[in-house]
Symmetry: C2
Subunit: 405 residues, 2 copies
């Protein structure tokens, strides 16, 4: 009997968890498993804001895929996915193609710019190791250039963060910790630096407990962040951004750095491959398969799951992606063994913690609200847990966060 070919696209939280669980449950003789990823490393998407601000080196937020997979059971292929041909059961890569019997799509997210002019050209997004270190270096270069100009341009030192959601707030927390270091490094007066957070929605961290949100805003304001809430970015330019002000008026905010952290969408490969999707996210069946495609599972940022309680999609998180990976692996194992009774996925939200820098955070865990050092400790434990689940204790020791006080 021919072994089924399982192809996993993407080694993010969802794809890598699927691989990690599959290699434990499926024998070498049961399936032929391939894992495809653009880079030869996995990165912690939820830590990228730290690498972007320069508070954590980018090598701390990534690890080699070959360190966590069992190469006797899984073949790793470094490649960029261009398209999925579902009718032909083939995946087209930049340099080659792969046939599959079962496919796991875990291709992650891309920045969603909502068609705002100039964002693609002039704003940075916190989406990968490459983009994180470019943001870090861009900000450093602005600071390094400041004292070289005969007429000092204070706007060089201004940083606009578009979006007061999770990524925006976590990035602001790191950035405000980093600025004093940058001021010392480049002999810049701290008071010349401006950090402006622009958010189109009428609130910071929508969906979060209002008391915790107030704490976060007040902590960030104390560290110098200026919030412009209910303010939409109309355009990004080489000089900064144009925002709406009142009915018809606009205002220019000059800034040397613009970081767009106001939204992501699923991979563009989804639509290119003909899946029905909303902003690149496929509304999956309870067993995580794409509707009409019994051989395609979708996990992570490309999967859309509705929270029935509020009739809105769950925000895509690492927590959910990893839980999906586990269910996906079990369902794949079942199919491999000829069982068609698949498990239903139900997210189990254990808690949510939003960091405000290395030393502060807000969150709810085990049903309890927490702020400050306690929440920050919890955040680090969550980060270490993700390492543990994907790579076991040795990965925690290698990449874990132990700067706990």
């Amino acid at each position: 009997m021919r072994k089924p070919k399982i192809v996993i696209l993407g080694a993010g939280y969802g794809g890598l968890m699927t691989a990690a669980k599959l290699q434990k449950t499926v024998g070498v003789n049961e399936a032929d498993i391939k894992l495809v990823n653009k880079n030869d490393y996995h990165y912690e998407t939820t830590w990228l804001h730290e690498a972007s601000a320069g508070t954590l080196h980018h090598d701390r937020v990534r690890y080699e895929i070959r360190d966590v997979i069992d190469r006797n059971k899984i073949e790793f292929i470094q490649g960029t996915v261009e398209e999925i041909k579902t009718e032909e059961k083939r995946v087209i890569l930049e340099n080659g193609e792969l046939a599959y019997d079962y496919l796991v799509v875990g291709l992650g997210a891309e920045p969603e710019t909502f068609g705002i002019k100039g964002l693609k050209e002039y704003a940075f997004s916190i989406v990968s190791v490459n983009s994180a270190r470019q943001i870090r270096e861009h900000i450093e270069y602005q600071f390094a250039t400041y004292n070289m100009e005969a007429e000092k341009k204070d706007e060089r030192l201004a940083i606009v963060v578009g979006g007061a959601g999770f990524t925006g707030i976590e990035f602001l927390g790191e950035l405000t910790n980093r600025i004093p270091e940058l001021c010392r490094e480049y002999d810049v007066d701290f008071h010349k630096v401006k950090i402006i957070c622009v958010e189109a929605a009428p609130m910071v961290l929508p969906g979060f407990d209002p008391e915790l949100v107030n704490y976060a805003v007040s902590q960030l304001e104390k560290k110098g962040v200026e919030f412009r809430i209910g303010t939409a970015i109309k355009e990004a330019t080489p000089e900064g951004i144009i925002v709406g002000k009142g009915e018809d008026e606009v205002e220019e905010i000059k800034a040397g750095t613009i970081v767009w952290a106001a939204g992501v969408r699923g991979s563009s490969v989804i639509e290119k491959s003909g899946f029905e999707a909303m902003r690149g996210r496929i509304k999956v069946q309870p067993d995580l398969r794409a509707p009409g495609h019994d051989d395609v599972f979708v996990v992570g940022d490309c999967a859309l799951i509705i929270n029935e309680e509020i009739n809105r999609p769950f925000p895509p998180t690492a927590q959910i992606a990893m839980q999906q990976g586990e269910v996906c692996a079990r369902n794949l194992a079942a199919l491999t063994r000829g069982k068609n009774d698949l498990e239903t996925f139900t997210p189990d939200i254990k808690g949510t913690v939003c960091s405000l820098g290395d030393d502060d955070a807000i969150g709810i865990a085990f049903g309890k609200k927490m702020v400050g050092g306690k929440a920050s400790f919890m955040k680090k434990m969550i980060d270490n847990r993700a390492l543990y689940m994907l790579g076991g204790p040795s990965l925690v020791l290698k990449k874990g966060k132990f700067n706990i006080f």
Copy 2:
């Protein structure tokens, strides 16, 4: 009796040495001494190529002026000199002015671009702490951006160094040591990086021993430097440089970074103040005074002294500037005490070492040629000696180079 007012402009090697020696020989009741400098720190001009390449942190190449002057004897004024009004015996600063009885001009050098189009706009010069860290960050940003572009531009990783004189060669030595680190940091293939040294003159390091020059060129070539000797830069552009090729032809060399290290001239304040000068350098009298100005001494890069043996000016070096500072201080002390019999300055060239990175160098010292580790050791001793002469043993311990093998 009124105390004479001595004003020293510039805290480079010449000015700071004048101050350091004056405070040892002249009593508080003998003279009123002021030292003016743009920054509150002195920097090692001869170490800037290291900070520019990123092999030595810029804080290692500077120290606070107040750490080396005796503030009971010398008043430090942070200010930028705009003009010297010799008739009125006054110095105009950006924010104020100072009267003097005796003046020491040690205002240092500026890049000389020989009117080459685009160099001021698109090339960096190794001239200050500010410019050094901007060069370092510019190169890092080019590397950080490389992997972010869908279509990779190898020219981003190309670095053109204009000039194969002392600064150019020493910078190349550091740069070639730094590139492998940058490649690791930004996941860049080492073979994609190009370092091109363009020199209009027909030789590398003119005036240096040919055997040593051959060693230097071959060592740098081994580390990836491509030499384009006898090649003149016609223009610098945002994309790179245009060089002459043969009679009428030109060639474009695309590069993300252009560093101009092919020449300096004396401060532009010299000409602005009406001194007779050649490229901002005043041909001083044997006692270091400017011709026709018995109250103005000139030291360092603004002073021109002829080497009678070859009937050409001595190249301005830290060694000569410090020796001038010593003589200048003794002559000022003499004038203060009413003596008009001033000392004649004669350079005493003890040796010259050109570094080729942290671990290699070429040089002549005590009449002996040396290369490799031995020459590199000598270079570090010369660097430590400059610290010792300006700030004593404590400064050597704080900023000295002890990475000796």
